[in-house]
Structure formats: C-alpha cells, structure tokens
C-alpha cells in the first residue's frame, strides 16, 4: 500500500473549484426552535422524565375521572361490604364502614392535589412579586423585603402551620394559607437573585433605553427568562405540599371528615393496618407515585432547561 501511494501523481485536473453557493449557506436543515420547543426536544429524550410526565397525567386523570367509572359515591356506606379486599366490584376494596376505597382515594387525591397546586400558586405569586420588587427597586425596599423574608424563613414551619390551622379552623383554606405563608421565602430569594443577575444584561438596558416601563420589563423580559427556573421549582414544590398536608392529616391536624385527603385516608387506614392492610396501602401508594412522578418531571425539566448541568 505504501509503495502504491508514492507512485500516485497529483495532477491539477484532479481538483475542481467548488465556489460558494450563497443560497446553500443560508439553508437551514432544521426549523428554528423557540426556547420552549428546544426544552421539550431535550425533555423528550429523557425517557425517565417522560415516564414521570405520563404517570403524572395518568394520576391526575384517574383522580378526576375515576369516580365516573367506578359509579360510586365516596360517602356512601354499605355495612354489608365492610373491609373487603380489592375485587372486581370494589377495585381497591372497601373500608371499615363499607365505603369504596377507590372512589375515596380519587376524592382524597383531588383535595391533596388541589392543596398542592393552590399552595404552589400562592407561594409562587407572593414569592415572585416580592423577589421582583426587591431585585428591581433595590435600596431600602430590597432591604426591608429581605429582612422580612429572613424573619419568615427563620420560623419553624411545622409549628406555624399547626398554630395557624388551630386558630383558623381546619379548612382547606386555612391549610393552604398556613403552608404558603411560610414557604414563599425560597421563591423570593431565587427570583431576586435571578433578577439581580439579569438586570445587568444588555437587552434589559436596551429595553429601558427604548422607553419600556418597569411593568413591561418585568412581564416581557424578566419573567420569561426566569420562567425556566421557576418551572423547576414549581414541579418540585407541589409534591412537597402534598407531603406536608399528608403529615398534618395523618396526625389528625389536617383535613377533617367528611372531607378527606390522601393523608387523612392513610391515617384512617393506620388503625386497621394489621388485619386490613389494603386500606392503608392504596392512599400511601398514591402519595408515593405522585411524588415520584413530580420528582422525575422536575429532574428532567431542570436537565432540559440547562443541558450544562448534565455533565
């Protein structure tokens, strides 16, 4: 082979001028993607995260549509079918008062998920408003808000929740208020940090040079750019609140009968653990699956938003 190569003659006519094709160099092989389409493309590649998303949608769909298919009422007691194991008619069995556990788990799940979402929304709204205000205004406003956030952050969370629910009555409203009151601090710090960072960037300066007012800068420029991190925090917070409510209800300080939630259902199942473990099993597995799904989605989302983190 080596000898063959030395014999080769390199002649001019073997080369050909290619030149520049102006049109071809401008040609895009793939359509240009928006930020979120790009995130979705990366997210889709992560099989585990996709599985989490499917699980999440499935759980939410079951919880809201399930009772339509089971055709039972969550409060209806039938003393002839107490403590049944799961079967064709009662998919998750029945509890000690002869109520259909599947329907109860669906109904409780609605409350649990509702609390998770509501708390997250309240936390997110208060936190980002405070954070944005502190970050943009700076000066004494910043100082005041951050001192206040520090104070709230130093409060023992569970104790505050217990005291508030005790004094306001144990309604969903009280639980949501108590849990979100102590939790906005994290969002506030994060949004403020982001805004301090972004504020210095050229496009914000350009926007304000073009005469955009503060509201427009926040809504059109800052918020969309902090959206990514906020989304990750949102998916991670929802299961946290579902957990929090479950703990409260489990020790009997949360949702009260006839209302119910996964925590309250688990609490009721606890007493029957030895002989009818299925009563405890189903609400527990729902809490675990839901948290698991949100965790997977959150992890996948944070990877998709910032591919650098992967390495």
């Amino acid at each position: 082979m080596d000898t063959a190569r030395t014999d080769m003659v390199v002649a001019d006519e073997m080369f050909q001028r290619v030149g520049i094709d102006e049109e071809l160099s401008e040609h895009l092989d793939k359509p240009s993607l928006t930020y979120w389409a790009d995130v979705w493309r990366r997210f889709r590649k992560d099989k585990l995260a996709l599985f989490g998303l499917v699980l999440m949608v499935a759980i939410i769909a079951t919880v809201f549509l399930g009772p339509l298919f089971s055709g039972k009422d969550y409060k209806y007691m039938d003393s002839s079918v107490k403590n049944l194991r799961p079967n064709a008619q009662y998919w998750f069995g029945t509890d000690d008062m002869g109520r259909d556990i599947f329907t109860r788990v669906c109904y409780g799940g609605r409350i649990s998920i509702l609390i998770g979402f509501l708390c997250t929304i309240v936390m997110f709204v208060i936190g980002s408003l405070m954070g944005a205000l502190a970050g943009l205004k700076g000066g004494w406003v910043d100082n005041l808000i951050m001192r206040f956030a520090e104070f709230v952050g130093n409060l023992p969370y569970l104790i505050i929740v217990v005291i508030l629910t005790m004094t306001m009555g144990r309604s969903i409203f009280a639980i949501v208020l108590a849990m979100s009151l102590t939790s906005w601090v994290g969002t506030c710090r994060m949004v403020r940090g982001q805004i301090l960072q972004l504020k210095e960037l050229d496009y914000i300066e350009a926007a304000s040079a073009l005469g955009a007012n503060t509201t427009r800068i926040i809504l059109r420029h800052l918020l969309p750019n902090t959206m990514g991190i906020i989304m990750v925090q949102v998916t991670m917070s929802i299961p946290g609140f579902i957990f929090g409510e479950a703990f409260l209800s489990y020790v009997g300080l949360g949702i009260r009968p006839p209302g119910t939630s996964w925590g309250a259902l688990a609490s009721a199942g606890q007493a029957r653990l030895m002989f009818h473990p299925h009563i405890l099993f189903f609400p527990c597995i729902m809490i675990v699956l839901t948290t698991f799904a949100f965790h997977l989605v959150g992890d996948g989302l944070s990877d998709a938003l910032d591919p650098k983190l992967r390495e």
């Binding site: 104070f151 005790m166 300080l253 688990a266 675990v288």
Partner: protein, 311 residues
C-alpha cells in the same frame, strides 16, 4: 467575628420575641372560649375563681405582659387549662428527653450513613451501584416516613415478629421508630452530598492536587470532603431543631410518649396554654440552632464572612 455573633444573636432574640408575641395573640384571639368546655357545668362562682386563676378575667394585653414577665423572670411556660396543676415546664421536662434520645440516634445514623453514601456514589458516578443507589434514593425521598413506619410495622413486627409493633420503655422499642425515621433522611443527605461532591470534584484545585501526585485518600479527605461538607452543615442545623419538631408523626404512630406526641395531643385537646408553652419551647430550640449553624458556617467557610462584610 464577635460583631457577627452579637448581631446574629440579636436578630435571633428579635425573631423569638416576635414568634412568642404572634403565637400568644393568635391563640388568645382564636375563636371560642378556651376554658368554656371545662367550666360550663360549674356554678358561676366557681367559674369566676377558675377564670381568675388563669388570669382570664384580665384583658388580653395585660395577660400578655404577665405571661412575658413570668417567662423571662422565672422561665415559666404556663399551666395546662385542661389538666389542672400540670405545667408546660413539667411536660417539657418529662417528654422532651425522650424525643431528644430518638432524635439524636436518628440524626447520627442519617448523617453517618447518608454522607459516606453520597460521597461514594459521587466518586463512582456512572457506575452500576451509583445508578442503583440513585433510583432507591428517589423512591425513599418520595415516601413519607409514616409509610415506612406502616411497612415496618406490618412486615418486621407483625409478620416476622422481630420487634414490638409499638410501645415504649425497653431498648427494643427503639428499633422500628428509629428505622422508619432514618431511611428518608439518609436519602436526603445522600442526595445533597452527592450533588455537592460532584460540584467540587472538577474544580481546579482538585486537578492541581491530582497533578502534584496527591494520593486518592488524601485528595478525598483534604480537598473534596472539606469543600463538599459546607452546604451539608447548613442542613444539619435545622435538622437538629427538627428532632423535636418533625418527630411527632413517628411518635404518634409508635405511641412514644415524646414531646411531639404530647404537642399534637394538646392541639387536638384545644389546650391553649400548653400549646403556647410547647410552641415557645420549640421556637427557642429552632432559633438557637439556626444561630449556631450560622456561626459554624462562618467558621467552616471563611468566604461567607467576607461576603457578609462586603454588603
């Protein structure tokens, strides 16, 4: 440093003062007469005597000053209005050590297992055991401690009869609560330790240490561990306070006469004075542990102090 400590302690005391004040007025303003249930059946004369005994005949503001005076001068947390003669101080003295014992064992196990595990998985990242531990970890984080408690009670205690289902008094009673409480914590420490180790593992100074021929053990001990432990220190502080605060689920499930289970009982009994006393005790512990962590943090990571003085 001294200035930093004084400032931090001052803020801590301020926080504590605000918590006590807020709790006092929240509970005083709670709907319903705290003592009504107890004295309803008594003749008016007796009612008056009892109201006087608890100082309920005076206006709220005056009661507040009396309470604060007693608290500061004699350390008196108040007396139960449900169980006559039982003071919050007695309850704390009798029940807090039990919570503390379990809590300390749990914390030592969580940190002692979670941190080496996190370090190990970070060093062996991408290997089989890393993936396996990570999956297990996510599952453990997604499972509330009461689910572990139920699983352990059902399988270890009820089916295999390895430990008592619940109860208190003998060493064997520690097994299940400690296990149930420890597992989730191990996963959390593991997760954060892994993350924090990964973030330092590619720093220039690690590469330098490798380049100059440092032995692997020395790199891990002197260079990686020292830096990756910093964020973990902040977690341990609130965890120390949490020993009392968040153990009440476990204490309730296993019928352990700790402070947590007593607190929950006081809340469901509407024993206002007792709730107030124990809340203040919790708040003190919490604030104190946060102060200690902040000071420790300053010692462990000198950069924090520099950043603090620059402000």
């Amino acid at each position: 440093m001294a200035k930093f400590i004084v400032k931090r302690v001052f803020y801590g005391l301020l926080t504590l003062f605000l918590i006590i004040t807020a709790t006092f007025f929240l509970i005083a303003g709670a709907p319903g007469d705290p003592i009504a249930a107890k004295v309803e059946q008594m003749p008016d004369r007796a009612q008056e005597v009892i109201r006087k005994k608890y100082g309920l005949d005076k206006p709220v503001v005056e009661r507040y000053f009396i309470y604060m005076k007693n608290l500061i001068t004699t350390g008196d947390f108040g007396e139960s209005i449900i169980y006559t003669g039982k003071s919050a101080n007695d309850v704390i003295k009798a029940n807090a050590p039990i919570s503390a014992k379990i809590g300390i064992i749990v914390l030592v196990l969580q940190v002692g297992i979670g941190i080496p595990l996190g370090l190990g998985t970070a060093l062996g990242r991408g290997k089989m055991y890393d993936h396996m531990i990570r999956v297990g970890n996510v599952l453990c984080i997604c499972t509330p401690s009461f689910v572990f408690a139920a699983l352990l009670q059902y399988f270890l205690a009820f089916k295999l009869k390895l430990a008592p289902v619940f109860g208190w008094g003998q060493p064997k009673h520690y097994i299940l609560p400690v296990l149930a409480y420890t597992i989730g914590g191990i996963a959390v420490y593991n997760k954060y330790m892994r993350g924090s180790t990964l973030s330092v593992i590619n720093e220039d100074y690690i590469v330098t240490a490798k380049a100059k021929g440092c032995k692997k053990g020395r790199i891990v001990r002197k260079h990686i561990l020292r830096n990756s432990m910093i964020p973990i220190v902040t977690m341990i502080g609130p965890a120390v306070a949490g020993i009392f605060g968040s153990s009440f689920v476990i204490e309730r499930i296993f019928a352990i006469p700790g402070l947590g289970s007593y607190y929950v009982k006081a809340v469901s009994d509407n024993d206002y004075t007792m709730v107030l006393g124990i809340t203040i005790f919790y708040a003190m512990l919490y604030v104190a542990s946060l102060i200690i962590v902040d000071i420790l943090y300053g010692i462990v990571d000198p950069r924090i102090k520099v950043a603090g003085t620059e402000k």
